[in-house]
Symmetry: C2
Subunit: 357 residues, 2 copies
Amino acid sequence: MAPGKLQLPIALDAMGGDNAPACVLRGAEMALIRHPGIRFLLFGNRYILEPLLVGIPVLKGASTIVHTEAVIAGDDKPSIAVRRGRGSSMWLSIESVKEGQSCAIVSAGNTGALMAMSKLILRTLPGISRPAIAALFPTLRGECVMLDLGANVESDADDLYRFAIMGDAFARAVLGLSRPRIGLLNVGSEELKGRDEVKAAAQLLKASAADLNFHGFVEGNDIAEGTVDVVVTDGFTGNVALKTAEGAARLIRTYLKEAFASSPIAKAGGLLAAGALGAVKDKLDDRKRNGAMFLGLNGIAVKSHGGADAYSFCNAISVAVELVAHHINTRITEEITLTGQLQLPSAPLDAIEGEPD
Amino acid sequence: MAPGKLQLPIALDAMGGDNAPACVLRGAEMALIRHPGIRFLLFGNRYILEPLLVGIPVLKGASTIVHTEAVIAGDDKPSIAVRRGRGSSMWLSIESVKEGQSCAIVSAGNTGALMAMSKLILRTLPGISRPAIAALFPTLRGECVMLDLGANVESDADDLYRFAIMGDAFARAVLGLSRPRIGLLNVGSEELKGRDEVKAAAQLLKASAADLNFHGFVEGNDIAEGTVDVVVTDGFTGNVALKTAEGAARLIRTYLKEAFASSPIAKAGGLLAAGALGAVKDKLDDRKRNGAMFLGLNGIAVKSHGGADAYSFCNAISVAVELVAHHINTRITEEITLTGQLQLPSAPLDAIEGEPD
């Protein structure tokens, strides 16, 4: 968003996350420098927040505290959080989006609770029955958007099709791409052409009246390769893929640390290459890509990592600002409307895609 | 396998793979040093193989060529390969296992064709309806077995349960573990407890009469963490997870290469740390873990990477030798028999696992 005089109100669940409220406030302070047009509604305990704000006068001047003492704990079950958490900082901050007091809500709190509350309070956009979680993934060419990362465990062809529209809008807003390439995650064995719902979703995307740049199927290795800008998959596969990649990256980091500590010569080598290795670390720094959106809801809800530090939380706020500035939900709704009459054919799948062999 | 006087015949599809037959033969030569008790049935064109064997007298002395000129190409469709490839090196080598002329078959050829032919010729073990592809994955604690990596695109609870038994037997044979810890791959969001079939498979594993060390659910990051020794999942998720991790590893390798080439000082650092970095490269070397088994078939069929070099192909032969030596299929059949009466309850899933909330 271009800096300006806009007063863009963002709701922050000031009490959510492992390092709340300190990192939430410090992150908000950093975001103010990046986006001078925003102001904050801080939901949380004023007796904790006010003393902290004394040390951050710039933020204090751009914020309004909405007091509540109720907080959703990190281990609260979503169903219980929804039932008993109505006055909590998380609930009230989401509600402020629904009431039009803020343009977006950012929370580092309990993911399941945030998802459940957001769905309940904001409801889904017209034509969307299942929201999806979208986030960025590093690639050889830059970054790509991947969704769904776990909002659903099963998705049919129609869901996947709508995820593609939502991911496209997300990539336009956050990555600034004009026609993001969209890929459907599938398996590539010659024998198996993938799951029926994935094949049917490909047919829907090919036939779509929406303005989508559909590349076709991609495989797991294509994600980091940067073959496409938007990787569409169901929430089970997406969640496993994301976490498997994180685990693999951690494994390699551990090996490298051990290697550079293994001898005085290796240590010296590590010191000489420290600058270059720092650049690698920076590229792989998850904090840069913090901020997953719950796409498909009637309002912008961004989830920060629970363990986010100030810099990381600031980036989640930036995601929210970009999504607001690019009117992501307007774009999604327009594209869904364009495809209004498109329905998943009820004919058997064989009839949709007759494999020649 | 302990070296000895055993004459363990292994069938090799000498013409399968990008580097066949040269790397197949060189790999076989290396395997002979490692396992002096084996001998080879080499299926392929004698006019190509015989001149090559002249230069490898040790292998020549331990091999019998079974001549055929027909070869399955890397891009042949499995269905076509099965119909038209009856006299091919791949077909005949698999058939030699069925006929009892060899104890196992190793091929670096077309994966889909190998799977389809192996299923057709060898058939599945009693009590197994779906075979699975199993392979090793590096972890912080060593290695783990992951399956299914793409033999199926959908799996029900019963399939997953049988994959666990097969993976357990594979880990005992190839990793030499006495009671491998088994994990079911799932998503960990607080709200979502995963797919119904995964939850039902967990119930089957908990109730099983087989000798299984069931750990419970694991998430994607647990794979590289080494939380369990056997990671059980459906072939779609397993294939995507494996390839996503490979892609992430390639991304990091590329970043590191660029970093060490970015300045003279970084280059010098890389040279100093070369030994230590070589150790990391070695740990991540996929060639060490080459050799995926098609588990659940009435015979041992091992798939080497198509691009395998001699060392890599030798490791695939070693996997076959270990599986033969440990009578993997006897173990699988015994465990399946133990669970003979265990059937997936036909009651609705809610009745199987009543979530308290």
